[in-house]
Structures are given as structure tokens and as C-alpha cells.
């Protein structure tokens, strides 16, 4: 019983089958690699990024034990992410867009340096 002292404060033992989670993650990995092969933009986005979010959620939920962690820890992480989203939201009208109200970017897309221009 000594190990319970170092276990979670709520003392709850969890019976998550980690190998099963891992197997699901591998299946998702295959999906995210195969999906873009069809060359359809929507499918690529969903399989690449949708699946990445699911994978990330599973790792956070089961491996990092956010499922049994104190709720406020989850909130802190979500708040940090929300700040980042707000930041990107505030920046993107300037950085993401090529032109806006009363301004435009002048650069041309640099010629793709296939083979690299560094030599």
C-alpha cells in the first residue's frame, strides 16, 4: 500500500489499458499518413490535422492523466492555448494576409529554391 502514498491524491487506481490506447494511436497515425495520398484538400486537412487533434487529445487524456487530474489543471492548459489562439487571431490580419485596408505587401513569392540557393 506504500505506493499509494505517491499515487494520485484522490487515491483512485485507474485501469486504463495503455497498450490499447497506443494501438488506437498507431491506427490514427496510419490514417493521417494515408489520408493525404488521395490528394483531396478537405480529406488532407481532416486526416492530417483533425486526426492530430484527436491523437493529442488521447495522449493528454490517457497518458498525461488529464482524465483523472484536477480539473483546474485542464483549465490552465486550455487558457494557455486560448491565449495563443487570441494571439494568432490578433496577428493574422497583418501577417497572414497579403493585403488589407490601405496596405499591401510588395514581395513576390520567392522563386522556389529547389536544390537550395545556399550554395
Amino acid at each position: 500500500m506504500a505506493e499509494h502514498a505517491t499515487a494520485h491524491a484522490h487515491g483512485e487506481t485507474h485501469h486504463t489499458n495503455y497498450v490499447k490506447i497506443w494501438a488506437i494511436l498507431l491506427v490514427l497515425l496510419v490514417v493521417s499518413v494515408v489520408g493525404p495520398e488521395f490528394g483531396i484538400r478537405t480529406v488532407t486537412l481532416i486526416t492530417a490535422f483533425g486526426v492530430a487533434i484527436v491523437k493529442a487529445w488521447m495522449v493528454a487524456h490517457y497518458f498525461m492523466h488529464l482524465n483523472i487530474e484536477k480539473k483546474w489543471v485542464v483549465y490552465i492548459m486550455v487558457i494557455m492555448l486560448a491565449f495563443m489562439l487570441a494571439m494568432v487571431g490578433g496577428i493574422s490580419p497583418d501577417v497572414l494576409k497579403h493585403d488589407g485596408h490601405n496596405w499591401e505587401k510588395l514581395w513576390e513569392e520567392p522563386a522556389p529554391g529547389a536544390g537550395g540557393g545556399a550554395h
Binding site: H101, N102, W103, E104, K105, L106, W107
Partner: protein, 240 residues
């Protein structure tokens, strides 16, 4: 107030100054009220023999009134300031009246190049007049300016116009102004741009239409003579 020191030489200079005045009146009142109460409390409740301080937690609604009502007032006055500030901002930066002439401003370390439309009033034609460090505009004419930077971030600031806009490399930024006063005024760079940041003054010369035409005639003659000199030629190559 800015107009104590500086003339108003553009259509929106007065709006900016009025906004400054409005803010001064509103926050000035609240500032003086707060400082007055603050110093009065300090004087009134200084330590005296035989007086013990009161125990006020400030947790009841009745007590909190003393801070919550003023802060509602702050909110209300914020909204008032906001309305005027956004209107002025909109006039200067968002909605511009149609252009009568365009002018190109190119900043570089550490000089300004101004490309004037010349006698035909159209930019990017053969009779464009390029000048370094002085900008010539006509009274009561709406200009749209196109701001470029060739190296680092500069800022095109004309205090008498109450106008300021950073010049960012890789971007063309548009703005407008309409001079309302003739004379010679100063233009500064308002964003640190390297060693010569303080050595980057330019002159703004606002003339009546007749005088402006006379200047153009003179400058067009000179333009061919100066076209080959270093700086102008360099800007020429990159201006577009």
C-alpha cells in the same frame, strides 16, 4: 495641447486636437478629483493622539458603493472617449476622401525621397519630380500618399498634420492628407532606424496653387540635371 506649440495644417489636425482637449477635460476632472480626495484623506486621517483607526472591511455593498460608483463613471466616460477617438481614427486612417493627386514617399537609411506627380498630376509618368528630403504639396488639395521603406522600419511623421505612419519594408501603406495652411514645416522620422535616426529631418513645403506650379516648372527643368546623381538614381531603380 498640441496647438499651443504647433500650427494645424491639415483637415484632421483640428479633430485630433479636439479629441486631445476632450480627453484632457474628462480625465483631467477625474484626475484632479481623485488627487484632491486622496490628499484630503491623508490630511484628515493623519495620526493624532487618542484617535484609533476605524475598522472598515469594505466588503459590504454599502461600503463598496464608494468605489463601484466611480468605476461605473469611468466606464461611461471611457465609452464617450471611445466614440470620439474611433471617429477621428476612422477619418485619418480608414476612410479617405477621393484623391486629387498621389505622392510616393520612400524612406531609407537616412533620407526621404518624395516622388511628386509633376505637371500632369499622374504618378509614374515621365514628368514625375523626385526630391530628396523635401516634400512639395499644394494647398487645399487631397493627396494620397504611398509609403515605402527600402531597408528598415521608419515612420513618416508630420507634426503639423498630426499625421504619423510607419514605413515598413516589404509593404506599401496608403494614407491621405489635405494641407490647409501654406508654409514650411518639419517632417521627422518617428521610429528608430539606426545610427542616423536623428539625422533624418525633411521639410514639408505647402504652397498656393500658383506658387506650386511655378515650383514644378522650375523643378522639372532641374530634374533632368539631377537624375543621374547617386541617391536619386538608386531610388529610381527601386521606387516601383
Amino acid at each position: 495641447m498640441p496647438y499651443w506649440y504647433l500650427q494645424q495644417a491639415s483637415t484632421f489636425a483640428g479633430d485630433v486636437d479636439n479629441l486631445v482637449l476632450l480627453i484632457t477635460v474628462i480625465v483631467g476632472f477625474w484626475f484632479l478629483a481623485a488627487e484632491f480626495i486622496f490628499f484630503w484623506l491623508i490630511w484628515r486621517f493623519r495620526a493624532r493622539d487618542g484617535h484609533k483607526a476605524a475598522y472598515v472591511a469594505g466588503e459590504t455593498k454599502r461600503e463598496k458603493r464608494w468605489v463601484s460608483y466611480p468605476h461605473y463613471a469611468v466606464l461611461a466616460f471611457d465609452i464617450l472617449i471611445l466614440i470620439f477617438a474611433l471617429r477621428v481614427w476612422n477619418d485619418i486612417k480608414i476612410s479617405a476622401p477621393p484623391a486629387e493627386e498621389r505622392i510616393r514617399v520612400i524612406a531609407q537609411q537616412w533620407a526621404w525621397t518624395f516622388v511628386h506627380a509633376g505637371p500632369d498630376g499622374v504618378l509614374d509618368t515621365a514628368d514625375d519630380i523626385r526630391t530628396v528630403d523635401d516634400m512639395h504639396v499644394e494647398l487645399d488639395k487631397t493627396y494620397h500618399f504611398e509609403l515605402h521603406s527600402r531597408d528598415v522600419v521608419h515612420s513618416f511623421s508630420v507634426p503639423v498634420f498630426r499625421l504619423k505612419q510607419d514605413a515598413v519594408p516589404g509593404r506599401a501603406i496608403l494614407g491621405w492628407f489635405r494641407p490647409t495652411r501654406t508654409g514650411e514645416f518639419d517632417i521627422q522620422c518617428a521610429e528608430i532606424c539606426g545610427i542616423g535616426h536623428g539625422l533624418m529631418p525633411a521639410r514639408l513645403i505647402v504652397r498656393t496653387p500658383e506658387e506650386h506650379r511655378a515650383w514644378m516648372a522650375e523643378a522639372s527643368g532641374m530634374a533632368s540635371a539631377t537624375a543621374g546623381t547617386g541617391l536619386v538614381a538608386r531610388v529610381e531603380g527601386e521606387g516601383q
